[in-house]
């Protein structure tokens, strides 16, 4: 296998990992604050639609991105209302949000564009286009480093770099700020946070809102960066893979980066089954690659390879003692 093929696969890995990474970090904030979120899929989907739709109408992808984040925040608000204010079952709320997104996106797309549940394809400024990092042209001809810099590191959309920057930012916010300490505490022992005079409800709503923003960016990337327009159910289970990655990384930001890149790599390989056959000399079923993230997650959850322990107060609504 030559360098170019390897670079192609790695490039695809980066592109496919980014939505997983953003959604995984979104889930990380929510679950670290004690709010389980299986509605990541729905929030991504609704943002993918809204950002593509608004970008198609206004011609500006940035307005589209904002609209997508807004739509994702609306669903996050519903989830917060159900699981924080009314102390409902967070898992059931997540299931409802996924169905709501799946239905509403097609309904709105059909009503606005009459193209069978899709948006018009996006062009020019209505999409996030690939950007070149500085000195690409000068470095392009340097052997090995040149192509790696030009093809793998440079030449992605701005959202890819935003997503990568979110990893250290998340780490910093969670482990080096007062907000992060409180957020983690709310997920482990909300009563202690309450005793310290910090609003549990406020902290949890803040976490759910951050989750909404990040999954909004993830959805916008799908329809305006990775592809040029929205199609029905285009998230295709990515929200659930992100959930799997979150467990795989045991709710830690740097490990989330690694887990999502591993799962993205598996997706990239599934697109090129010929390569595996060439390297391993056996035919690997594409379906096995599809199922591998889920199988790995079940193995991790089972605690056979290190134990994944979720935040202690996860899934439990907080009731103040009267």
């Amino acid at each position: 296998m030559d360098l170019i093929t390897i670079l192609q696969v790695l490039d695809a890995t980066v592109r496919l990992s980014v939505p997983l990474l953003l959604a995984c970090l979104a889930g990380l904030f929510s679950e670290r604050a004690g709010i389980f979120d299986i509605g990541l899929e729905g929030k991504m989907l609704v943002s993918a639609f809204m950002s593509a739709a608004v970008a198609a109408v206004t011609g500006s992808v940035w307005v589209g991105l904002l609209a997508g984040i807004g739509a994702s925040l609306v669903l996050a608000g519903i989830h917060g209302l159900a699981s924080i204010t009314f102390r409902g079952n967070q898992l059931i709320s997540g299931v409802a949000i996924n169905f709501l997104a799946s239905g509403m996106t097609v309904l709105m797309a059909q009503s606005w564009f009459q193209q069978g549940g899709r948006t018009p394809s996006l062009r020019g400024a209505a999409r996030f286009n690939d950007i070149n990092l500085p000195y690409v042209d000068q470095l392009k001809d340097v052997p090995v480093i040149g192509p790696i810099y030009a093809d793998l590191i440079s030449g992605h959309t701005i959202l890819v770099y935003v997503a990568l920057a979110c990893v250290p930012l998340t780490w910093w916010a969670l482990y080096r700020t007062r907000f992060g300490l409180r957020l983690r505490a709310v997920g482990e022992n909300p009563a202690a946070v309450d005793t310290a005079g910090v609003s549990v409800i406020g902290m949890r709503f803040a976490a759910v809102a951050i989750c909404g923003v990040l999954s909004g960016i993830a959805g916008a990337y799908l329809s305006t960066g990775l592809q040029a327009g929205f199609i029905k159910d285009m998230t295709a289970g990515r929200g659930y893979i992100a959930l799997a990655a979150l467990i795989f990384s045991k709710w830690r930001p740097w490990y989330a980066l690694m887990a999502t890149f591993l799962f993205g790599f598996l997706q990239a390989l599934a697109l090129r089954p010929d390569l595996l056959e060439k390297v391993l000399f056996v035919k690997v079923q594409v379906q096995l690659l599809d199922a591998l993230p889920y199988i790995l997650t079940v193995v991790i959850l089972a605690g056979f390879v290190g134990k994944a322990i979720p935040p202690r107060a996860g899934g439990e609504p907080y009731v103040k003692e009267r």
Binding site: S83, G103, Q110, A291
Partner: protein, 373 residues
């Protein structure tokens, strides 16, 4: 003291939740520029207007009874089995193997064997998540979600590979042998001289679903195991203290749940398609969640909710043919029902509880007030 009379909990709250879901659905229909009243009439007529439409409504109902019961049984043990879809599709694999690879003299024997096969396959697919929950503490919701995808990948592999007949391009098994074709409503009612639409897919498995409702009722409220399941669902420490083995309850209730979900494929695989196709369940496993929530996990409630959702699915399909409203409207209604009856339950319950308390307090001073209350 009960905060509310029982009828309010069982009837009033679901009805109000349903009304709220209906009102928002009507607003959605208005927002996309259609008339909600007209849409409702088209849906009611589409679901119940003719024998043919009833045939489809009852066909969907059968699916939803099985998956609704599956979720309900798990709910009684306070577990959320979100893997009904995976279990149902693997149950379909059981039906397909029984029908294709074994020679059957008569459909009744084939149906019996397919029922056992689908239940076994569905239960087996629920076994690993159940065992991991009981023994390793892995969250059942996450593992069953993962198993939905693993099941889909497995079926995808089998249907484009080993199970596909030679020369076929479509990812599906071959048609089942003629002898395994089970009677539909046209055949059954025809024996009594009642005419029924020939093309509608409702079939004999509807009666198996009804029987399953009675069986689940008897299991949960009339057997020792059912008592243990309910006790475990109410309080795990109390159940442990009473000598109930948590591992056994988790595994057994999930096996029953998986078996019920698997038996759904008697209806859609054996009764309708007569072969196994990709995505044969069409999301029915997830509708089971809405059905169980609305039916308050009681078999009779599940039956009513399944009938309602069956009508909703058939009505929604007709609606999308006759108007510009896409069939995905049904998904929105389904989401709203899950949201209001499940997650936002307290939003309806809290004000109602306050109302009932206030109503009770008013006449209280006239007779002798009891200080304990």
């Amino acid at each position: 003291m009960e905060k509310m009379p029982k009828w309010a909990d069982v009837i009033l709250i679901p009805v109000i939740s349903l009304l709220l879901a209906g009102i928002i659905s009507a607003l959605v229909i208005m927002a996309i520029g259609e008339d909600p009243v007209k849409a409702l009439w088209i849906m009611v007529d589409g679901a119940t207007g003719s024998a043919y439409n009833w045939g489809y409504t009852l066909y969907y109902t059968t699916n939803f009874i099985f998956t609704g019961l599956a979720v309900a049984v798990a709910f009684h043990a306070r577990m959320f089995n979100i893997g009904g879809d995976g279990q149902a599709s693997i149950g379909g694999l059981g039906v397909a193997l029984v029908c294709i690879y074994l020679p059957w003299p008569h459909w009744s024997l084939a149906l019996l064997a397919a029922a056992v096969g689908s239940a076994l396959f569905g239960a087996a697919f629920a076994l690993i998540p159940a065992w991991l929950q009981a023994k390793r503490g892995s969250h059942i919701v996450i593992t069953t979600i993962m198993f939905n995808f693993i099941g889909a990948a497995l079926l995808n592999y089998l249907l484009v590979g080993p199970l596909k007949p030679m020369g076929s391009m479509e990812p599906a098994t071959g048609k089942f042998p003629k002898v395994t074709s089970i009677p539909n409503f046209h055949d059954i009612l025809g024996m009594f001289g009642i005419p029924f639409s020939r093309g509608a897919p409702a079939n004999i498995s509807f009666f198996i679903a009804i029987a399953a409702c009675f069986a689940v009722w008897a299991l949960i409220w009339r057997t020792r195991l059912g008592y243990e399941i309910r006790a475990f669902g109410h309080s795990e420490p109390a159940a442990k203290y009473a000598g109930i083995n948590p591992t056994r309850i988790i595994v057994v209730s999930m096996l029953i749940s998986g078996a019920l979900a698997g038996m759904m494929s008697l209806n859609n695989v054996m009764g309708e398609a007569e072969r196994l196709v990709l995505n044969s369940t069409e999301g029915a496993g997830f509708i089971g969640i809405a059905v169980a929530l609305m039916g308050r996990s009681h078999p009779f409630g599940v039956f009513l909710a399944a009938l309602l959702f069956g009508a909703l699915y058939q009505g929604g399909a007709i609606l999308s043919q006759d108007t510009n409203i896409p069939v995905q409207l049904v998904l929105v209604i389904q989401a709203l029902v899950i949201l209001f009856t499940g997650a936002l339950d307290n939003m309806v319950r809290m004000p109602l509880e306050k109302l009932f308390l206030a109503l009770r307090r008013k006449p209280a001073p006239a007779p002798k007030p009891t200080p304990a209350e």
